[in-house]
């Protein structure tokens, strides 16, 4: 292939990809209120679209490079941190790295991102703070692109945090609603827990490499990490577990936070409080995939830590199944999709856990297409019905034909019906899992079975969703029925574009059984350490074909059951629910996990927050009754009254500081003669100190 | 500046320290003893006559704390400043030969600055002695 664009030019343009959305965010954020709404829309969309165009150019530039292993461009922007000491130096650059992996993500983020920006123009019409909305959305795009394009771990961490911040801002976008503001807070806090894991992992990785290389390590760039990662093997294990495993697990904690895996998934369903396009963009297509991306990016670390990989695979598989079961009973359309997202992310982790990294990315891409489509379709429905509750919907097929048709494409894709994109990628994951070599014998097969079961559940709950929303008659009342309408074309156009992608997206990663090249796999090859399942397996085509048929069978069964339950015999679900009342209850209440977390973590935390709030309030009160507090302290020292220790310690500390502060204020008499005495005393004191010590 | 003395030729000072301390203590003791006795033994009866300042037998008229006019201090300070500057001019004059024209230029500049200062004082009303000085 001839080179359309000089790689050198492309290299110098890399910074534009993240910085264009940033510029959009700055313009909309600072001037947005004064700009006409149309211009705000234009700035918001155009900045992302330009970034998309540059990404496309970057993609072709990479393709134009003949030698696959040379397919990377690094643009160093400036020296960020440089520390020199006698043994060596440590330097970090703000540099962007374009390689097959990052360009794939870039295309998804900017491409899907642009469509969602466009959709938002219609969806947010009439909202009074659209400038703020588009500024946040652009800022998010910037952070995500920074995360993806970063050439070193620390810069990636900056993007990682930025993504979390934007998610918080957007979930709580309608912050006047207390519940929504709290959902934003929840997402932020849960993400913090994960980020802590990431950060500790980063520290541990750096420290180990620093020690292992006798202080000659000079940075955290990915290329450098990749070369020096074998050093981890020589480091002495902690608690009998190798350091590579520790580090891998810590990074995975970060990934479970950002990508909503067990046990840190709880924020994602609540994140649906944000505007629907945000759910589509952030909580389905891009931000939540950051964890998968990070693990694939660090694949060289994970391949030397098989135990960590196994944990990733198991957590992924279990999350996929677990979230799918919850999705069965939810009535909020966005919640079903949220749990489905968690479930699909579980698939991706399952894939990377069994070392099928390119397959994980493949599913990430197809999932971005069809899940964005599902959310946008749901948004279109919500826009028309003004409710999230599926029980108030039904029969929308005839009112919203475009939405219905595009939604069906995504539905078939996620349910795993060939030849839709979701089928291709999901089946490849199952095949890779079946063939995997996990440290525990039979684990691969078990995870495969779990994945297969999840596929059936997915087909079932998606059928339920489609049936409740689009089939049958409208249940929302006559008044609402009059206002039902198809969404404007600015909203349906993105739906159609995504629908096309959902249908044909599978061609980039065709299974080996078709004897056609797996484009994505070959493209990503140079970035990955070990070739995924389909790469090095001696192909047993009959087996692959058989498994494929089984999974089609399972999916069809799921769909049939769904059809039977919710279209053919609508009385059945009630009966089944009555029969298994306990189980239904547990599922509907999402295994009570929120309640458990509430009791275990949130409430004590809130108590602490309230205490530190009091830190501020009781300035005067506290000063007066210190004596009574002393008595109280004695009493709880003896009686260990509930939590008063924390109470007392926080208050006591605040008290002490305040008292000292007050006492110090008395020292400042304002009389110059006192100050001059203080000089004499000061010199004398210093003398005494100096002679004594 | 170049060193004036070479080496550490200071005499040791600790031998004097002890006697200094004894002396200091004795002085302190004596003074405090005297003050103590004066306040203990002395009669303490005060009346207006006693509290009046002693002016060699003449009954004082008015307060002893006269207020000098502020310009007095101003002029005193101006004199001080300009007087001190003369020292520089003397030192230039002494080595006039070896300093040459460069030195002449420098001292001219110096005098110019002084003149500027004088001008400033003048314009600001610093030399005006009396109630009619400028208010702004």
């Amino acid at each position: 292939m001839t080179n359309l664009i000089d790689p050198l030019h492309m290299k110098n343009m890399l910074w534009l990809i993240p910085c264009l959305p940033l510029a959009g965010a700055v313009i909309n954020g600072l001037l947005g209120k004064r700009l006409p709404v149309r211009l705000v829309h234009f700035v918001g969309c155009a900045s992302v679209f330009l970034a998309f165009l540059i990404s496309v150019a970057g993609f072709f530039t990479l393709l134009g490079i003949e030698e696959p292993h040379q397919r990377f461009l690094i643009q160093p922007l400036y020296q960020w941190i440089l520390t020199v000491w006698h043994q060596g130096s440590f330097s970090l650059q703000v540099a962007f790295r374009l390689d097959p992996l990052s360009i794939t993500l870039c295309l998804v983020v900017t491409g899907v991102g642009f469509l969602i920006h466009l959709y938002s123009v219609g969806y947010m019409a009439g909202d009074e703070s659209q400038a703020r909305y588009f500024a946040y959305l652009n800022l998010f795009t910037f952070s995500m692109l920074l995360l993806v394009l970063a050439d070193n771990l620390l810069l990636m961490f900056v993007g990682w945090e930025g993504v979390g911040l934007c998610s918080y801002l957007l979930i709580g976008f309608w912050f006047t609603d207390l519940e929504k503001a709290q959902a934003g807070m929840k997402a932020f806090i849960v993400n913090r827990v994960g980020d802590f894991g990431f950060f500790v992992g980063l520290m541990l990785l750096f420290w180990t490499l620093f020690e292992g290389s006798n202080g000659t390590i000079t940075g955290l760039g990915f290329q450098q990490l990749r070369e020096s990662i074998p050093l981890l093997n020589s480091a002495s294990p902690i608690l009998g577990v190798g350091l590579a495993t520790w580090i891998g697990l810590l990074f995975f904690v970060g990934a479970t936070g950002k990508s909503a895996q067990i046990p840190l998934y709880i924020w994602l369903p609540d994140a649906m409080a944000g505007p629907t396009p945000v759910s589509a963009f952030i909580h389905a297509a891009t931000m939540v995939t950051a964890g998968v991306y990070m693990i694939v990016r660090l694949n060289f670390l994970y391949v030397i830590a098989p135990a960590a990989m196994a944990v990733v695979a198991v957590v992924g598989g279990v999350t996929a199944f677990y979230a799918a079961t919850i999705a069965l009973t939810q009535n909020d359309i966005k919640r079903v999709l949220a749990y489905s997202t968690i479930s699909q992310l579980g698939y991706m982790f399952l894939a990377v856990g069994v070392a099928a990294f390119s397959t994980g990315i493949f599913h990430l891409v197809t999932h971005a297409f069809f899940k964005a489509l599902l959310f946008l379709g749901a948004g279109s429905v919500i826009h028309a019905v003004h409710s999230n509750d599926m029980l108030e919907m039904g029969g929308l097929k005839k009112y919203m034909p475009h939405t219905y048709l595009t939604f069906m494409a995504a539905y078939l894709a996620i349910s795993g019906i060939p030849p839709f994109s979701g089928f291709v990628s999901k089946d490849e994951i199952l095949w890779a899992t079946f063939n995997s070599h996990l440290p525990v014998a039979g684990l691969g097969k078990a995870l495969w079975a779990l994945g297969l079961l999840t596929a059936g559940l997915t087909a079932f709950y998606m059928t339920r969703l489609v049936a409740l929303t689009f089939m049958g008659g409208f249940r929302g009342g006559l008044e609402k029925e009059k206002h039902l309408h198809e969404s404007p074309s600015v909203m349906t156009f993105p739906l159609m574009a995504l629908a096309v992608l959902s249908v044909v997206g599978g061609v980039i990663g065709l299974p080996a059984v078709t004897h056609l090249p797996n484009l994505l796999h070959d493209f990503l090859g140079p970035v990955l350490s070990s070739h995924g399942a389909s790469g090095h397996q001696a192909h047993a085509y009959w087996l692959e074909l058989l498994l494929m048929l089984i999974s089609i069978g399972v999916a069809t069964t799921g769909i049939y059951l769904g059809w039977l339950f919710y279209v053919k015999r609508p009385e059945l679900p009630g009966k089944v629910a009555a029969r298994f009342a306990k189980m239904y209850q547990v599922l509907e209440q999402k295994y009570y996990v929120d309640e458990i977390y509430q009791a275990l973590f949130v409430r004590p935390l809130l108590k602490l927050v309230a205490l530190s709030g009091r830190f501020d309030l009781n300035t005067i009160d506290g000063a007066v009754n210190l004596s009574s507090r002393v008595t109280a302290k004695f009493s709880f020292l003896i009686g260990w009254e509930d939590l008063k220790i924390v109470d007392g310690a926080v208050n006591g500390l605040a008290e002490i500081f305040k008292r000292w502060g007050a006492a110090l204020r008395h020292l400042q008499t304002g009389k110059i003669q006192h100050y001059l005495y203080s000089v004499v005393l000061g010199i004398f004191g210093l003398c005494v100190f100096m002679f004594l010590f | 500046m170049q060193p004036i003395l070479d080496g550490l030729t200071l005499s040791p000072w600790e031998p004097g320290l002890f006697s200094l301390a004894i002396y200091g203590l004795m002085v302190l003791g004596l003074v405090s003893l005297l003050l103590f006795f004066a306040s203990w033994l002395g009669e303490k009866k005060s009346n207006p006559e006693k509290l009046r300042p002693y002016e060699s037998g003449i009954i004082p008229t008015g307060s002893a704390r006269l207020r000098y006019p502020v310009p007095f201090f101003l002029v005193a300070i101006f004199f001080l400043i300009f007087d001190v500057e003369a020292a520089y001019i003397f030192s230039w004059a002494i080595s006039y030969d070896s300093l040459g024209w460069a030195g002449w230029l420098q001292i001219s500049f110096f005098i110019f600055v002084l003149l500027l200062g004088l001008l400033y004082i003048w314009k600001k009303g610093g030399l005006e002695w009396g109630p009619t000085s400028k208010q702004d």
Binding site: L82, I683 | P3, E14, K123, D136
Partner: protein
Amino acid sequence: MIPENFIQSNLQGISFIGPELILTLAILLILLVGVLLPYWRHRILFTILAVAGLAGSVLPLWKLPQPAPDLTYLSNLFVWDWLTFLSKPFFAVVGVLTILLTQVTGEIDNSEYSECTILVLAVTMGMMLLVASTDLLMIYLAFETMGILSYLLVGIRARDERSGEAALKYVLYGAFTSGTMLFGFSLLFGLAGSTDLLAISQKVAFASQHPQDRLLLIVAILFFLAGLLFKTASFPFHFWCPDVYEGAPTPITAFLSVGPKAAGFVLFIRLFYPLFATGHDATIYEAVSGLDWPSILALVSAITMTLGNLAAIHQNNLKRLLAYSSIAHAGYLLMGIVSLSDLGLRSVVFYLVVYLFMNVGAFAVVAMVASAGGSEEIDSYRGLGARAPYVCVAMAIFLFSLIGLPPFAGFVGKVYLFAAVIYKKIYWLAVVAALNTVISLYYYLRIVKAMFLEKPTETIQIQVPLSSRVLLLALLVPTLGLGIYWQPLARVVSGMF
């Protein structure tokens, strides 16, 4: 008779004090204009002249030879090293910012404006001389040039009682401490027989072997400390600071909190490093044996920051609060001096540069709010965020930077300071400093909270003119920029030591 070559070398050395000479000319020009046009009401002329003078003062730096640690001039009175070279533009920037701030806030009356600019220029000149001096006498002269003129600056509002009171306190305190320092100088001169720092340092290394001379050295060090700790507003010589900062016009307060303070720290480096520390493989120093001044300074640093932060908690007047904050920052900066390494010295200089922008920024906001109809009390900041968002966001950024939160410049500066002490393994000091940072969070955030979360108690509309906004922007850019891209500054600083 004076040798010919002595005169020649002195005349040549004059080119090295080019910045000071240009400042002098600017001062004379402003003086002349101010006298000849007494009814001139346009402050802008003086501002332009002063800024031009300050800008012009850095021009000669490009013409002068490459700095070197042993390049002395004017009979060894001054040294031309990187610290000198880079401090001069620093002080010029301090001066420019002060004058612009005075211009935009209008806190100084027209009748006093020309004098104010003259004094700012003169203090700047004093600071420039001070950082270059390597001779005790010259140091004292420059120190007093800076000191006495800044007393005048504090009292520039002649008809304002608070300003006068502050000036008087400053004079008395300053005279007392600088007299003490002069006594220290005389002791050292008596010991070494020279006022040249290089000559003294050789004598000191020798003298510290003898117990009797060591005693003298200790007293000398303590007396030095009185002057230096006074200038940098550190415990136990900080008492003047809140009163003076509160009484002085706000732009002058901003000036004092960065200019003389920075000069004090540079003087710390100038005095203590050649005199009482010996270089050790060029990156680490050791205190001269028997003189344990680092440990005493470490204690002073810990007490200073704790005291500053604790006392700031109760302040409701923002200028007073920032005065205590500036005391606390003196404590942080002392950490760098204590650490006895190049890393420490670099971090001090780095932090001073960062501190210049964020602290002047915070004072600038205080001055602007006060001159736009508010007051310096925290009450007039309640709910200000909604009425003057630009100024309040700027204030929040400056305060966050003062706390030391990423991604602002203050964070990077603090990281370097902490790294310096930890590198030297003075862990307890690092812990105290970290705790102090937490305490400081409380009172800085109180302002942020008042601005954005509380309901306004007064309804005065705050109108901030465009010129003020531009000045704030000029301060914001480095506060933010150095937090993200600090490498150029770090490189410049690491070239200094």
